[in-house]
């Protein structure tokens, strides 16, 4: 029913989507998977008109619809949901669903101007239909219908978003990470809902990181990596495809893991006990407990939405935990303000790098020493870091925004080192990086550990993280489900299950 051919889109020289073909059969459920930064959302944004392709054709039931605007795509029968929920927050749930009927409903200004009963029927029918749609996605309209959309739980908001999309009576429904941030029982209900959609004549294209869901409901799966389609086939074929396993668990380099049995050092630098964190109505972390010993490199791995970044943000004071305690270097830092935590030597290198794009590389590094007052030592350390990372020395007076993604990542790590951390938190340092750059970043992480800095690493690239780590914890839906030495976990079939749903 939908055919995309050779779709390409570049963002400032980066090939976000590079010649991707995709064929969607009517009445099927197609999964689109791939690591972070693979171009899945860009591809879906092209299909729904939010991003224009620079090359390629899209045909819907044989008609060329390339480059149409979002509202035209909607009128042609392509509905979508968004990765970050985009409900009309101040409208009621029923009003949200009725917004999806915009194209089908007549202009009813006259019915409002003249209070005649005869003119009210259309509005009543629309409201009844909206209630029916809410029931179909598993919500009780009598309970939630009149509530503001923003008052609903995260999982229910996703359902409302799907009901709103179904109100368009679409031919194709595009779901961007429908179960992201959901707990296992919510995931189960969402899975049932998606599986039933083709019975109502709706074809589904779904981006999802939860492999159990993808493997369970999809008829067909396409895999993107670095903007290219690297595989396509049935769930069974995809599950057995070595290239896909590599794309998900990371490139298998020749390096071996640290010797097994490296256990927690004599003194514990960071001790987290029974941590509960929630935000936006979602419990992101539940009863997480773990420890990082002095001088250790500990990895937190787990699928998207498992709560890894939330944990790092809580450790560095950006989020406040609901319950639990965090002890750093013998002091309780639970709920302490960020600037005080930074002063105590716990430094966070956030996901997405967050270098200051308009400041030079040198200025970015100097900012990393903001809490220090020893000017001569700072200058010496900037020089030392520039020597250690020659890439940065060559670009010391360039604005950081002009650096490539990998160079920015190295700058972000170097900036973290400027604060002389006792514990360095690294969030997804290999995110969106080309394989060669990934190697280089992991070499740097290894050096930092060898120099005696304790590191807590969060990574999607589980294999690389486990190879580098002394110990690791596996998170799933906000809980620690496994822990052990890097080498043990690397061999553990359950780790593979967490990632590929196999």
């Amino acid at each position: 029913m939908l055919e995309a051919e050779g779709i390409s889109r570049y963002f400032g020289g980066v090939k976000a989507v590079d010649g991707v073909d995709l064929k969607i059969e009517a009445g099927s459920i197609t999964g689109l998977i791939g690591p972070n930064g693979a171009g899945k959302t860009t591809f879906v944004n092209i299909l729904t008109g939010y991003v224009r392709p620079q090359a390629g054709r899209i045909r819907l039931e044989g008609n060329d619809i390339t480059g149409r605007s979002p509202h035209e795509m909607a009128s042609l029968g392509v509905a979508r949901t968004f990765q970050t929920i985009r409900l009309f927050r101040d409208m009621t749930v029923l009003e949200n669903v009725q917004a999806g009927m915009h194209l089908r409903r007549p202009d009813d200004l006259l019915a409002h101007l003249l209070p005649l009963p005869a003119l009210r029927g259309e509005a009543r029918r629309a409201a009844a239909e909206a209630r029916e749609l809410l029931r179909r996605v598993g919500l009780n309209p009598e309970v939630v219908g009149a509530a503001r959309a923003s008052q609903l739980s995260y999982g229910d908001q996703r359902r409302v978003e799907i009901a709103r999309a179904l109100a368009l009576q679409p031919k194709l429904l595009v779901l961007d990470e429908p179960v992201a941030g959901m707990n296992p029982s919510e995931k189960g209900r969402m899975r049932d809902l998606i599986a039933r959609l083709p019975d109502h004549g709706v074809t589904v294209l779904m981006i999802e990181h939860d492999m159990r869901l993808v493997m369970g409901v999809c008829d067909h799966i396409a895999v993107l990596n670095f903007g290219r389609r690297i595989a396509s086939g049935t769930p069974a074929e995809i599950g057995a495809n070595p290239e896909v396993i590599t794309a998900y668990l990371g490139a298998d380099s020749e390096r071996t893991a640290r010797p097994a049995g490296t256990s927690l050092g004599t003194s514990s630098l960071l001790k987290v006990t029974d941590l509960d964190v929630s935000y936006g109505g979602v419990q992101a972390v539940a009863q997480a407990s773990f420890e990082v010993g002095e001088g250790e490199l500990v990895a937190l791995i787990g699928p998207n939405g498992a709560g890894k970044t939330t944990i790092l943000n809580t450790l560095s004071g950006l989020l406040r935990p609901d319950r639990g305690s965090i002890e750093f270097a013998g002091h309780a830092i639970t709920g302490a303000p960020s600037h005080r935590i930074v002063r105590s030597g716990l430094i966070h290198v956030p996901e997405g790098r967050e270098v200051l794009a308009r400041q030079t590389v040198r200025e970015n590094l100097e900012l990393g020493a903001f809490t220090r007052r020893d000017r001569h030592a700072i200058r010496a350390q900037v020089d030392e870091l520039l020597t250690r990372f020659p890439i940065l020395r060559e670009r010391a007076s360039l604005p950081a925004g002009q650096l490539s993604g990998g160079e920015q990542q190295i700058l972000a790590i170097a900036r973290g080192l400027m604060a002389r951390p006792r514990l360095l938190l690294l969030d997804e340092p290999s995110l969106g990086l080309a394989p060669l750059m990934v190697d280089q970043v992991f070499r740097i992480i290894d050096e930092i550990r060898t120099d005696g800095t304790t590191v807590l690493l969060v990574e999607q690239n589980a294999r690389r993280a486990l190879q580098a780590a002394d110990r690791a914890y596996v998170l799933e839906s906000g809980r620690v489900v496994l822990s052990g030495s890097g080498a043990e976990l690397l061999e553990d079939p359950r780790v593979r299950a967490t990632y590929l749903g196999a």
């Binding site: 509202h71 009128s75 009309f88 409208m91 917004a99 915009h102 999309a165």
Partner: protein, 298 residues
């Protein structure tokens, strides 16, 4: 306090003593409704005073030079304002938020300097003498217009178009994914706002014997926005209440003498702090809206 004492004890002489004030409350209500329409669609535009000037000059020139009645001048003035909105809307509505506000404010100033202060037909900055002015006769048409437009716009916000505007205001990308043509809908709100502002300008010009170009400057443009913000932008009665209240406020505060402006500013500040949603909000709406009204709650 004389203001209220007279209002309640001797309404007849209050009316005859405050004719201009009452008429101006009405005109300002129309301007507030005009900016409300664009705000309801999520567009922060400050071009209202420019459109108002177009309406004012058009109707006065038609009245003096062609001896055409106010009704014709008002229609011609509002249509001309809408034409101007169509021309500047195409490029300007691509902007968002503060950039849109600055660009529309720029339009108002450019119009004032380019047209009002320069062309022979507008008096080259000397203003126009309006021999046809009629304050007493202006009050009734102005207030009838306020009532009708408030009702019309209220119905419009409840209709398909209004629902699309409300959706866009909350999230443009999500609105587009429901098939709402965001560009066309923005333009519709901008045109309707210009139409109303042009109409208000025509009525306003006929309340005074002299059309003064310095009236149509930035302070007035910001003043119109303040009417709407203080009154509340979720419901059309809000801007009307805001305009009436803020137009009357300096008069009410006459007793404060030299401190009038300071007290005026203080009251504004207190309202913004304690009623950030405006004087009339969704909660207040429930009291005003009768239960039997059709489609009020679908």
């Amino acid at each position: 306090m004389d203001f209220f004492v007279q209002l309640f004890t001797d309404p007849a002489s209050f009316y005859s003593g405050h004719e201009l004030l009452i008429a101006q409350m009405g005109v300002n209500s129309l301007l507030a409704i005009s900016i409300f329409v664009t705000l309801y669609a999520g567009q922060l535009t400050l071009a209202q005073v420019g459109f108002m000037a177009i309406g004012a000059y058009t109707s006065v020139i038609l009245n003096i030079d062609a001896r055409l009645p106010l009704a014709v001048g008002a229609v011609a003035g509002s249509l001309l304002a809408a034409v101007a909105a169509l021309i500047i809307g195409l490029p300007v509505l691509r902007l968002r938020g503060i950039f849109l506000a600055i660009a529309t404010l720029g339009f108002g100033e450019a119009f004032r300097f380019g047209v009002l202060l320069n062309l022979p037909i507008t008096g080259e900055g000397q203003g126009l003498t309006n021999t046809g002015a009629d304050i007493e006769g202006g009050i009734v048409p102005v207030w009838i217009s306020v009532v009708i437009l408030t009702y019309l716009i209220f119905c419009l916000t409840r209709s398909r178009t209004g629902r699309a505007w409300a959706a866009m205001r909350e999230d443009e990308a999500a609105a587009a994914s429901q098939g709402i043509n965001v560009v066309a809908m923005k333009m519709a709100a901008f045109l309707l706002g210009a139409l109303i502002a042009g109409y208000a300008g025509a009525l306003d010009a006929h309340l005074s014997f002299f059309v003064d170009p310095t009236e149509y400057a930035t302070p007035r443009a910001v003043g119109v926005l303040i009417f709407a913000v203080v009154g509340g932008t979720g419901f059309v009665l809000g801007p009307v209440v805001g305009a009436i209240f803020l137009t009357a406020l300096p008069e009410i505060l006459r007793f404060a003498a030299d401190y009038r402006d300071a007290v005026n500013g203080l009251i504004l500040l207190l309202i913004i702090i304690f009623r950030p949603q405006g004087l009339v909000s969704r909660g207040g709406l429930a009291i005003i809206r009768p239960r039997w009204w059709p489609l009020a709650r679908s």
